[in-house]
């Protein structure tokens, strides 16, 4: 492949995969059964040059490959205020990846699509929240891959036998013990988002294990945990003892060994996390709310729809809901769509509100139920953000100001 007998695109892709293998100290490559591409999100001309070079050379993916969010909302073309030439180049980038045989899924939550990898299956996923979900919740195996590697692995069908593909590297090393929480707190999704923020910041390059949680944790909560941890840190796998597939017991999660570090987490740690994810002054007039980072699931819509149906959004506030087109179809089938066509509510599809210009220029104070959004949006958009529960987000959008109650942490 390196010699170019399969074309220059294959040779380029193989050079990247081989360089990654050398860097990781891998002695061999292994086959993957699927890939998820993050490189389709436009950041500038280099990403486009790379994709078009591969596409122009006739590269095709060898394994089923899904695409992450892009910089454009193809279903609501007017909603993204991206200037030229970025707009045209972002569209060309999307076209290049489609032309290589990738599926136009345009979602950061590929684990919410019908086909997803199973326990022990090797894949190459990029997009930090998708990586941690695949490893932790599905028990599939992907390393923490970045852009460019994703498409090169999809074209060659190979990844280095290294990192989290190897069983030995999946053993938990940093133990987080939950202390001082009642039964009710872990039932709140925000609990998991805040816990993720703490776990990411304090795991360094270790594999975290969470002990002391309920034994049945909904996928949306694990999704919030992973997204938070993969933002504040470089976490790519989290074991939740008694819940996630490679952690039937605490002992199994730790591989029977003593953890390198043990960290106790109590309600005050999550209060601090909420403060870290909120602007110092979160008391001013609220102009925007953003939920659906990562893309809202059908279960998330099931929670949100009755809340929004009963709410009347304040005239100064826009309530953004981001999701993938596949989930949107489910929302439509269930007859929930009219709720999202009400004044003040906007659906964002194929992209997200913190990666491309969607918020209006005067929407400078925003609220979210996503640790990931709260982490990145202030730097990306130059706005102030406040973190709260989904219920608090709806209440605040109605009131036109930030209303938060963290009393549930003591519940």
């Amino acid at each position: 492949m390196l010699a170019g007998e399969h074309g220059t695109a294959m040779a380029l892709a193989m050079r990247i995969v081989t360089a990654m293998a050398e860097a990781a100290g891998a002695e061999r490559l292994i086959d993957i059964s699927g890939a998820h591409i993050d490189s389709c999100l436009y950041h500038g001309p280099v990403g486009l040059r790379f994709a078009e070079r591969l596409a122009d050379d006739g590269a095709r993916v060898r394994v089923p490959t899904t695409l992450n969010v892009s910089a454009l909302d193809l279903l609501h073309p007017g909603s993204v205020r991206l200037d030229e030439p970025a707009r045209s180049e972002a569209r060309r980038l999307m076209a290049a990846y489609e032309s290589m045989g990738c599926q136009p899924t345009w979602t950061c939550a590929p684990y919410q699509l019908p086909d997803r990898p199973g326990l022990g299956e090797h894949v190459c996923w990029a997009e930090s929240n998708a990586i941690v979900f695949a490893n932790s919740v599905l028990g599939a195996r992907t390393d923490r891959y970045g852009d460019f590697m994703d498409i090169c692995a999809a074209i060659t069908g190979r990844v280095p036998a290294a990192g989290l593909h190897m069983a030995a590297n999946r053993v938990g090393t940093v133990l987080f013990r939950l202390r001082g929480f009642g039964r009710a707190a872990p039932e709140e999704e925000a609990f998991w988002a805040l816990l993720g923020h703490v776990v990411g910041a304090r795991s360094a390059n270790g594999v975290p294990v969470i002990d002391g949680a309920p034994t049945s944790v909904p996928e949306d909560h694990l999704k919030a945990l992973g997204a938070g941890a993969a933002s504040s840190g470089s976490v790519a796998l989290i074991h939740v003892a008694g819940t996630t597939p490679e952690a039937p017991t605490l002992r199994a999660a730790l591989g029977g060994r003593t953890p390198l570090r043990t960290i106790e987490i109590g309600p005050d740690d999550l209060r601090t996390a909420a403060a870290e994810l909120s602007a110092v002054d979160s008391s001013g007039d609220l102009r925007a709310v953003s939920v659906g980072t990562p893309h809202l699931s059908l279960a998330g819509f099931e929670r949100l729809t009755p809340m929004l149906a009963a709410a009347r959004i304040h005239p100064d506030v826009t309530f953004y809901v981001s999701t993938g087109r596949d989930v949107l179809q489910g929302v439509e089938e269930r007859g929930w769509l009219p709720v999202y066509q009400a004044p003040g509510i906007r659906l964002v599809v194929d992209t997200c509100t913190y990666i491309t210009p969607i918020l209006a220029p005067d929407e400078t104070m925003a609220m979210t139920d996503s640790a990931k959004w709260a982490w990145y949006a202030p730097g990306n958009l130059g706005i102030a953000a406040a973190f709260g529960t989904m219920e608090d987000c709806v209440r605040s959008a109605v009131a036109g100001r930030v209303i938060r109650d963290f009393g549930w942490l003591d519940g």
């Binding site: 990781a24 280099v46 997009e127 970045g146 470089s234 202030p378 990306n380």
Partner: protein, 150 residues
């Protein structure tokens, strides 16, 4: 610190030669959401080095964090001329390596990436750093400090 400086044997992930002034980040950095390609400035509101520029520096950090898009953002920085001259890491980081690899493949820039291990912590911002093709890294105090020691 002596004026003579010191040398460390690093492991090159992307071999190359570079020299410049060190910018040492004690915390990991995500290039996406963390560095603006137009200016090379650190925009991560949570990062202690927020406001500093990575441009033309020998960037020293423990490892990356956060987004997979950091590969692309590093490559965009290197293409725009706002990127670092070399990256020295405490631990191997595939995401940053990818950005440098693709920038080289496309003929945009050559930014060596070297893993130093724990010794990265001995480097201070402002040190004059030289990276050799075999991964050897030479670190000297800045010129002013050398003159003061004299």
């Amino acid at each position: 610190m002596t004026s003579a400086g010191w040398t460390a044997e690093g492991r090159p992930l992307l071999a190359g030669v570079a020299a410049g002034s060190a910018l040492v980040l004690r915390e990991p950095l995500s290039f996406w959401g963390g560095v603006a390609p137009a200016t090379g400035r650190i925009i991560d509101t949570h990062h202690p080095a927020r406001g500093q520029r990575v441009t033309d520096m020998i960037l020293v950090l423990p490892h990356g964090r956060g987004s997979s898009s950091s590969s692309t953002v590093l490559a965009e920085c290197l293409s725009a001329g706002t990127g670092p001259r070399a990256i020295l890491l405490g631990e191997a980081d595939g995401i940053l390596l990818l950005g440098a690899l693709v920038a080289r493949e496309l003929g945009v820039a050559h930014c060596p990436v070297v893993v130093l291990g724990d010794v990265w912590q001995r480097i201070a911002t402002g040190n004059v750093v030289r990276v050799s093709a075999d991964g050897r890294v030479t670190v000297r105090p800045p010129v002013e400090a050398r003159e003061r020691d004299r």
